[in-house]
Amino acid sequence: MTQGLTKTYGGRVTALDNLTVDVEPGIVGLVGANGAGKSTFIKIMLGLIAPTSGTVRVFDLDPTSQPDQVRNRVGYMPEHDALPPDVSAAEFVTHLGRISGLPRTAARERASEALRHVGLYEERYRQIGGYSTGMKQRVKLAQALVHDPDLLLLDEPTNGLDPAGRDAMLALVHRIGTEFGISVVTCSHLLGEVEQICDSLVAIEGGKLLRADRISNMTEVSDVLAVEVSEGTQELADALEKLDLPVRIDGRVLLVPLEREDTYDRILRAVADLDLPLHRLDQRRHRVAELFAPREKADV
């Protein structure tokens, strides 16, 4: 659906260097450090800036030569503050709906709908200036949804949100991608949040493609069990070693590969034998982060 070919973007600074990527519909995470070229990539997809060389296709359309057709089907949520403080959310989203070409009544209906979907139905007649950061992010998302796009481009949707707000925003993006039938490209410099909700992942660094694949392909490596005990971590590790379980100590957590069916039971028995207070025992998927381990440390 979003098909990127070769894009070099030059001038004095090369933001994207010969990037070739082909993305399937669904929720796509675009990760990279600040300045890796994520925003540039999005702007090229919107036709706001033309690539220096190479071509982009969005829904088989060229954003450079057919920006109107592309933008009709794309919703964009910018990274920075983009809301006037002295109008209500309902009014503002309606106005932008009209700028997207919706007739007056349709724009009003769609604006209420979009605000309802992002959870701002009750507050929609209040002035945006009085909103919290989380609510403002939701208004920005609502304005990207108002004209019912087929693709959403979200530039750092969780920017400035507290952990609860971040989870709520990610859940919302996930809903949009799965239940609303809208493809989403979401940008982030935090791999952890993107891997929770995305179907596939595009990692770029310094304008170059690092890796692009489906999350499932990246995480299909065996799962691990994380064991945490309040005390006696070392004793438990030794006990598990004796049971031929390859233990890795990661801070206060013991990581044991889930290789056989009975691994679970054997760990539980070992904990019970040592009479240790078990804090937690859960299954953890191989984090995508581990695939980019050295880079990830540099970013976060």
Partner: protein, 287 residues
């Protein structure tokens, strides 16, 4: 924020209705701008200044019409009326231009506009059209009040009304020139900054600074210099064009044979400002 998940439970509906083209989008941005110029859809505070100016200008027109009806004297004709109101127009421009463009810049709304099927030229065009209409209405409505006053007290019936209309229409054109020139200068200055106060100050300053230049030039010895002095300030520039095109307007400005020069400068100035404005938004749109 957790209540959101409850609200979400009603399904999402796709939009199947019509999507209008750029013309409709331009139109809605134009109407939005025109409303914003007079503070509609804004807080009460935003309505004070535009309506104050509009009120004063209209009041002057009503008084003029009344004086004329009572005494038969004509203190100011339509064109002189526009000139006399010049400072109020500048005041109005200094309020409205930042309201139309600086505000969008300040709030960072532009990326939301330009990620939609809207071009820089559409945005600039709609804003200019909205503001020209707003400034023109500021002059044209009071001029129309004066016309109505004259028409209803006309002594010789329809022929007087037609004659009066013959005076009104060029004056409306003259007001349009005012609107065009002041809008293009005002919007260009306002588009350079997101701070409303700076934009308003800048606009007033430009008009304020150029007036003394005219004063200095007009007391020079050379008649040519005196007759060309009006070119130095937008206000006298408009008067000069009016004087040349409607000789019996009696603007009090001596332009000699330089009428065409005034017109050429006015057109160049308008076109130049609009092109710069467009160039500015071409650049902003790609950010």
């Amino acid at each position: 924020m957790s209540e959101a998940s409850v609200i979400h439970d009603i399904g999402y509906q796709r939009y199947e209705g019509p999507r209008l083209g750029r013309g409709a989008v331009f139109n809605s941005l134009y109407v939005h701008g025109l409303r914003a110029a007079y503070g509609f859809g804004r807080s009460a505070k935003a309505k004070i200044f535009p309506w104050l100016v509009f009120g004063i200008v209209s009041l002057v027109a009503v008084i003029l019409a009344a004086v004329r009806a009572q005494t038969g004297l004509l203190p100011l004709n339509y064109i002189q009326f526009a000139d006399a109101m010049s400072w109020l127009i500048i005041f109005f421009v200094a309020i409205v231009a930042p309201e139309l463009v600086s505000r969008d810049m300040r709030a960072g709304v532009l990326p939301l506009y330009f990620s939609r099927p809207l071009r820089a030229a559409d945005y600039v065009g709609a804003k200019v059209a909205a503001m020209v209409t707003a400034v023109w209405a500021l002059l044209a409505v009071p001029q129309f009040i004066m016309f109505l006053g004259a028409a209803f007290t006309a002594k010789n019936g329809m022929s007087d009304v037609w004659k009066e209309l013959g005076d009104l229409l060029p004056a409306w054109g003259y007001s349009l020139l005012w609107a065009l020139l002041f809008t293009s200068i005002g919007l260009l200055i306002a588009s350079l900054t997101g701070k409303r106060a700076f934009a308003a100050g800048g606009i007033v300053a430009v008009f304020l600074m150029t007036t003394p230049v005219v004063g200095v030039l007009s007391i020079l010895r050379s008649t040519d210099a005196q007759e060309l002095a009006g070119l130095a300030s937008p206000m006298t520039l408009v008067s000069g064009v009016g004087q040349w095109l409607v000789p019996d307007a009696n603007t009090g400005l001596f332009i000699g044979r330089f009428g065409p020069v005034y017109l050429i400068e006015a057109i160049t100035l308008i076109a130049g400002c609009l092109l710069l404005l467009l160039a500015r938004y071409r650049k902003v749109a790609s950010l």
